[in-house]
Amino acid sequence: MPPVAESSLGVKADFPIFSRRFDGRELIYLDSAATSQKPAVVIEALAEHLRGHNANVHRGVYALAREADAAYDEARRRVASFTNATGGETIFTKNVTEAINLVAYSWGRAHVGKGDAVLITQMEHHANIVPWQVLCRERGAQLRYLEVDERGELSLEALDQELARGDVRLVAFTHVSNVLGTINPVAEISARARAAGAVSLIDGAQAVPHMPVDVDAIGADFYAWTGHKALGPTGVGVLHGRREILEGMEPFLTGGDMIASVDFYSATWNALPAKFEAGTPMVAEAVALGAAVDYLSGLGMERVRAHERELTAYMLERLAQVPGLRSVGPLDADSRGGLVSFTVEGIHPHDVAELVDRGGVCIRAGHHCAQPLMRCLGVGATARASVGVYSEASDIDALIDALLAGREVFGL
């Protein structure tokens, strides 16, 4: 089947890593769900900040410090407006994991107690599971799971039943599953949580880099995502939060920049968002993330989504041709993000990844930090291929060839 019209955005040349050769071969990178590659403009923004505008923020009166302040503020504005999150506060964290922990520690310890429940789903990443396990154990609360059905989807009726029990204080769920690919009905879930008096938190790590996301329209109380998956550098994540809730919360990390004043035995807190950004922030990384979202906006997130949808449809179709291959998650590309997890009969996923690497193809194998979901799926691990803005249909052809060759190595 010939690659379809939108199956390439023609931007590979923007990403320096694709000019590298591995044993003389091109890089075929189908692991964007783990981390994205970075366009030259992002790397250059990072380097240029450190090269020419570096100073500590928030405190200096000299020209260079004013430049650093302005760059950091501007990065926050860009990042907030990229997902239309300007109705709330935007806090920079080191990754989405810290963002979720921030909410678990600061909001959770004050609002979740005995007799309360935290509701998450069976398709969460460990980052959206373990902090709630720890919180519930510490506070004597109950952790409950919303089931994933055989299509790999959540049921809104099941959600209503859970909420009807009246004890749910928080609903935490992923926007897009990093294993199943499922795109969840996040606005509906947030609205139902709110109607039931529960706070909502969305893990947008796999959504923001790949589709238009309108945080204000979705209406969750917290929406978190991570820079390195969105063409940004490592070391920076984002937490969007409703202002009233953040204002009522105690801080998480404490120290410099987040205080209004410090006495010997007590301190008062700075205004938002500084209250939640203790210590010197990842200024250069935030600036580079600002460049990343500008780059994505330049491509147009509708186009990015259309492109990745086409590639996913193509990938599902081609994978179905590989004997013994079973993919998980929704069947049609409209309901899923740009990744497909699968198993191959007779070859452990770890070996699948190793075998396709011989064809120069990079995919991931393992539990994808979603062990509870693996248990639900009845597998220990899967292989996963995932796309990004730079992916092309030919990458998927290479994957299929490598899979077929791998089967031969195993005598299948």
């Binding site: 405190r59 200096g60 009166v61 410090a65 004013r66 302040d69 302005a70 209004a260 004043s261 205004a271």
Partner: protein
């Protein structure tokens, strides 16, 4: 001549008007500038819903002290309603010098304190 440290700014800094305490007073406020640890407080006496008299106290840089001093002369006699509606521009215009983003907080500290005392609004300016 210096752009920022004009003669009248330095004059207000060195000999601030309406500084000290006012006892008894009807309203009071106190704010810190987290940037530099400066502290500015105000005592206000009210009569007929107007500021009859006021005094600032605390310590700060030339910009924050001069702002407080200059503003104090304008604030006396204003109705509380008017005060609650004073914006950043009013203060910056009154000051009459170019204020950088960093020093803006200094220039607006007194208005923040006064607004807080008058209307309990301590989120201003966001």
């Amino acid at each position: 001549m210096d752009d920022l440290y004009r003669d009248y700014i330095l004059d207000h800094y060195k000999r601030p008007r309406n500084f000290g305490s006012l006892e008894p007073h009807d309203l009071e406020g106190l704010e810190h500038n987290p940037l530099c640890g400066d502290e500015l407080g105000v005592h206000i006496r009210v009569k007929d819903e107007r500021i009859e008299d006021l005094r600032f106290h605390g310590f700060g840089c030339a910009i924050s002290q001069a702002s407080a001093s200059i503003a104090s002369e304008e604030l006396k006699g204003m109705s509380l309603r008017e005060v609650a509606e004073l914006g950043a521009d009013w203060m910056i215009d009154l000051l009459g010098i170019p204020v950088s983003a960093t020093r803006r907080k200094c220039a607006l500290l007194n208005l923040k304190v006064v607004r807080g005392a008058v209307s309990g609004d301590d989120a201003w300016p966001s």
